[in-house]
């Protein structure tokens, strides 16, 4: 094969393996964080027996899920029932491939950008795969052949479609300021002109709210509201397939946090780092760590909100989406366009 092609393929494979491994590890440890933080908020101890501080708990949970019996109820539509968990999980992971976690590094005499795919339409790819997430939940609900599951699936589709709209319009503000759909351009624009969250606060808040709805987290977890729907769309799932839904939820959280960081909090930018005059690779490592810190902050907020707020009622959810967030997002776009015309960006 052509040596250039081989090199590009090898580089991409290494990056994909690294990203995949890191994201999966963070997913596993988010379950531990969730349980420890919820215990802390509720003045309990939480899992602290397996390993120091309960740090080996995710490992034990994983083994438990693998060895549990995976029951397939006789009334489900089998092909779709088996496919649905994967359909939720895959879009969440694919979206991560366009997020830049750092600037370029020089390794082995080559300059390596710290993201998997620097595509021209990064934002659109993200929106495309976010809209794919609906299918997993809707199909899990339908194929379970159970009215609670179906209700959960329907609710989630309505919720995702409503909030996707507000999210997309909020992102338009960032796009107008940057003049590019490429995520690396959005980050470099923020490095020179200041973080977007500072002057696009309404857009930032709408994006974060919509991200909670897109990930089906409290206060937007109506698709699996246990007091009304048993467990919603994953009522009929057990064993590893059940845990796939949870892994997908955490993967979605990580991706949403990474996006909020990239779009509004300057991505990997550390203010004042350029003044220190560090060598390129050291600066890159500091910036990657800063990115991880910002993402971790968002993940903590996700957990914090879940154990603080009660669940919305369905009509409240729809009213907030269509009569609250959408008009604010539209007004925000108008405001940002005036600022951009006036030479702010």
């Amino acid at each position: 094969m052509d040596p250039t092609v081989t090199r590009v393929l090898a580089e991409a494979s290494v990056k994909i393996a690294l990203f995949f491994g890191v994201v999966l590890t963070v997913i596993a440890y988010m379950t531990w964080v969730e349980r420890r933080v919820s215990a802390w908020i509720q003045d309990r101890r939480g899992p602290n027996r397996v390993g120091p501080f309960g740090l080996l708990q995710p490992l034990a949970d994983g083994i438990k899920f693998l060895f549990k019996e995976a029951i397939t109820p006789p009334h489900v539509y089998r092909p779709v029932y088996l496919l649905a968990p994967a359909l939720i999980f895959i879009p969440a992971l694919v979206t991560f491939s366009v997020v830049p976690i750092g600037p370029t590094m020089s390794l082995f005499g080559r300059r390596i950008p710290l993201l998997i795919a620097d595509v021209d339409n990064g934002i659109l790819i993200i929106l495309a795969f976010a809209s794919m997430g609906v299918y997993g939940v809707a199909l899990a609900g339908w194929s379970s052949n159970n009215k609670y599951s179906l209700m959960g699936g329907l609710r989630s589709s309505a919720q995702l479609i409503s909030y996707e709209l507000a999210m997309g319009i909020a992102i338009v503000g960032v796009l107008m300021a940057t003049g590019s759909l490429r995520l690396t351009d959005i980050v470099t624009h923020q490095i020179t002109n200041g973080w977007n969250a500072l002057w696009q606060l309404p857009g930032f808040l709408i994006f974060v709210t919509a991200a909670f709805a897109e990930t089906n987290r409290l206060p937007f977890d109506l698709p699996e509201a246990e007091t009304e729907l048993v467990a919603g769309y994953h009522t009929e799932y057990s064993g590893m397939r059940f845990s796939m839904f949870y892994m997908a939820e955490y993967a979605n959280m990580i991706t949403a946090s990474a996006l909020a960081t990239t779009l509004y909090l300057g991505g990997y930018h550390v203010p004042g780092l350029a003044a220190l005059g560090l060598p390129e690779n050291a600066a890159a490592i500091v910036q990657v760590l800063a990115f991880c810190l910002k993402v971790a902050m968002f993940l903590f907020v996700f957990v914090w909100v879940r154990w603080t707020l009660p669940r919305f009622r369905y009509d409240q959810l729809m009213n907030l989406g269509w009569k609250g967030l959408l008009p604010i997002a539209l007004a925000h776009v108008l405001w940002v366009s005036f600022l951009v015309l006036g030479g702010r960006a």
Partner: protein, 218 residues
């Protein structure tokens, strides 16, 4: 030309008889057999894995196979899923043709938004698996066979008589033409009238839908 059209007609008649004998119980099997056949064809074609033709062939295969399964599969819900696969493979075609913006929009609008609507409709109508090909049909079936046969013959004729030109000419190729920037520039300069007229049409349809739906509530 006429001989080839007749050949196509005979081919589709035979294919129709085969599908009728197999479907619906063996619809999945028919799909797998077709798929295996196409994979063998692609492999035999001996295109380099990095060539445009290889990937275009793979996407074309996925598009045709999923389109066939939409029609063959007895469960309407699964047909909707294969329609999504079909729209995805068309988006991949756009990517291969360097129209990245169009590919992303195809996934967002068609595979994302419109197909969710289809999914809802099929889900809420609660359609049971069809009786099979025996149930439907009528006179339009014979018309479909004749027209399909003529179309197959036409395709065969076109493939046999294609010119020596390559699929694309590297010299005249502009790598920026599929980007959002170029497309936006064209939409707001050369095709401005058509673009604005289409937006007006969409608004009218939206208002009409709201008025029709709310007529009884008032």
């Amino acid at each position: 030309m006429v001989v080839r059209l007749l050949l196509g007609l005979i081919f589709v008649l035979v294919a129709f008889a085969v599908v009728r004998a197999l479907a619906p119980a063996r619809a999945a099997l028919a799909g797998i057999v077709l798929g295996a056949g196409a994979v063998v064809l692609v492999a035999l074609n001996r295109q380099a894995i990095t060539s445009v033709e290889f990937w275009a062939g793979l996407c074309g295969f996925a598009a045709i196979l999923s389109a066939l399964l939409i029609v063959i599969h007895p469960n309407p819900m699964v047909s909707v899923l294969f329609l999504i696969v079909n729209l995805f493979s068309v988006a991949l075609f756009y990517l291969i043709l360097n129209a990245q913006f169009l590919a992303a929009i195809q996934v967002i609008v068609y595979a994302g938004a419109i197909m969710v609507l289809f999914l809802f409709v099929v889900m809420l109508l609660n359609l049971k698996a069809e009786e099979g090909l025996r149930g439907g049909g009528g006179p339009q079936r014979y018309g479909a066979v004749v027209l399909g046969g003529l179309f197959a013959g036409l395709m065969f004729h076109a493939l046999r008589n294609r010119g020596p030109r390559p699929y694309f000419e590297p010299g005249s190729f502009d790598s920026g033409f599929g980007t959002a920037r170029e497309l936006g520039r064209l939409l707001f300069t050369r095709y401005l009238f058509a673009f604005e007229a289409a937006s007006l049409l969409l608004i009218a349809a939206m208002i009409g839908a709201v008025i029709l739906a709310k007529r009884r509530i008032r």
